[in-house]
């Protein structure tokens, strides 16, 4: 597990049926590109989050492939249409095989 990887998400507590809500998701991660060299001139191996997904009640909302050009602490903001109360599940996939998860529930107002 990469050091200091810590997810943060923001989802409104409630929404009306059919409303598109704004979701913000961030994970702290150094996103080492694999192109940089250390003080001794050796290549620092690539270590990034390569995929991010968000599911709502089992249905996929967004599935993002991430490449090395994405900078430190990748941050995604997107809209999702809410038809019923339920739970947003967020998953980040690390190059080293680790998976980070977070979830937030939303109610219908």
């Amino acid at each position: 597990m990469a050091e200091d990887a810590k997810p943060r998400v923001k989802v409104p507590k409630s929404a009306s049926v059919g409303e598109a809500v704004t979701i913000k998701a961030l994970i702290s991660h150094k996103m080492e590109s694999g192109q940089r060299k250390d003080a001794e001139g050796k290549l620092i191996p690539r270590s990034i989050i390569n995929r991010f997904t968000c599911d709502f009640n089992g249905a996929n909302v967004i599935d993002v492939a991430i490449d090395p050009a994405v900078s430190t602490n990748p941050y995604f903001e997107f809209d999702a249409k809410v038809d019923a109360a339920g739970e947003f599940k967020f998953t980040w996939y690390d190059d080293d095989g680790s998976v980070y998860e977070d979830s937030k529930s939303i109610e219908i107002a």
Binding site: D4, K6, R8, K10, K24, L26, S28, S71, T72, N73
Partner: protein, 287 residues
């Protein structure tokens, strides 16, 4: 007639250019969306008594930054500095001392630190030394936890500064400048007005005489430190006041004092006192 019109046009153009060169702080209000609801901060107020001869109003550096940067500070989620606060919460709870001591073990939650940022630096009544927040943290780390002192400008130190400062967000800066603090404050004031480096510039040359003007592409603020530690977009990381002082003095092409030196401690007290009355911004966002 024609000539008059022309000179008026030239005059108007001249005025417009002057207007641009002295880009004054932006009139705006900082209300932050926090987990506990919106919090409005005092980012502009009348100058403390000791400054009234020099200026009427003190402005947080927030007013001098561009729209996008100001907006990032309005929402804790958009504030990249909060990542470091999260990291510090882990460190706060982690048993890292030689006998498994943690910050939480003695101090319980970080909210027990509320109010501390607003009154630091201050003189420790027992030792008579001027204490920065870094000094307080390191005295815990070395004396209570039995560890090597944290590097003053290192990541774990700055993370912790961010977490502890955040607990005082919204409270007015109120450092003591009289009594035991007076000699330190006088020393800090002297440093503030002393010209350093090959460029022979003092803090006051930029942040007092020319605040609001552009220095190449940078907008000179009053140099207030109520928002420190700050998330600096240029560094994609946190910056403490001590680091900022090093950066400023270095920019005058001088050999700088060290972080945590007596000189920079005194300077931090003096600069903090120039912001007495502004809200602690916890982790602010700057260019």
């Amino acid at each position: 007639m024609h000539r008059t019109a022309k000179s008026i046009a030239a005059l108007a153009l001249g005025l417009a250019l002057t207007g641009m060169a002295s880009a004054d702080p932006v009139e705006d209000t900082l209300t932050v969306e926090t987990d506990d609801g919106p919090l409005t901060l005092t980012t502009m107020t009348s100058a403390p008594d000791h400054l009234t001869d020099t200026m009427d109003t003190i402005w947080s550096g927030w007013h001098y930054r561009e729209d996008d940067t100001r907006d990032m500070e309005r929402d804790d989620f958009d504030n990249p500095g909060m990542v470091f606060v999260d990291r510090a919460i882990d460190s706060w709870n982690a048993p890292q001392g030689v006998k498994g001591e943690s910050c939480a073990g003695c101090h319980e939650g970080p909210e027990s630190m509320a109010g501390l940022r607003a009154v630091l630096p201050r003189v420790d009544p027992e030792s008579g030394k001027l204490m920065l927040m870094e000094d307080h943290i390191n005295s815990c780390v070395t004396e209570r936890m039995g560890l090597e002192a944290w590097k003053l400008t290192g990541d774990e130190m700055k993370d912790m500064l961010a977490l502890i400062s955040l607990q005082s967000r919204g409270q007015p800066v109120n450092v003591a400048i009289d009594g035991a603090a007076a000699p330190f404050w006088e020393k800090g004031k002297e440093i503030y007005y002393t010209r350093f480096g090959q460029l022979e510039m003092s803090c006051a040359n930029c942040h007092e005489d020319n605040q609001g003007m552009m220095i190449r592409a940078d907008h000179l603020s009053q140099g207030q430190i109520n928002g420190f530690p700050t998330y600096r977009l240029k560094d994609a990381g946190l910056l403490s006041s001590q680091q900022r002082f090093i950066g400023c003095v270095r920019d005058t092409r001088a050999e700088t004092f060290k972080a945590g030196s007596d000189e920079f401690k005194a300077l931090e007290l003096y600069v903090a006192s120039r912001g007495n009355g502004l809200s602690v911004e916890g982790v602010s966002v700057r260019h």
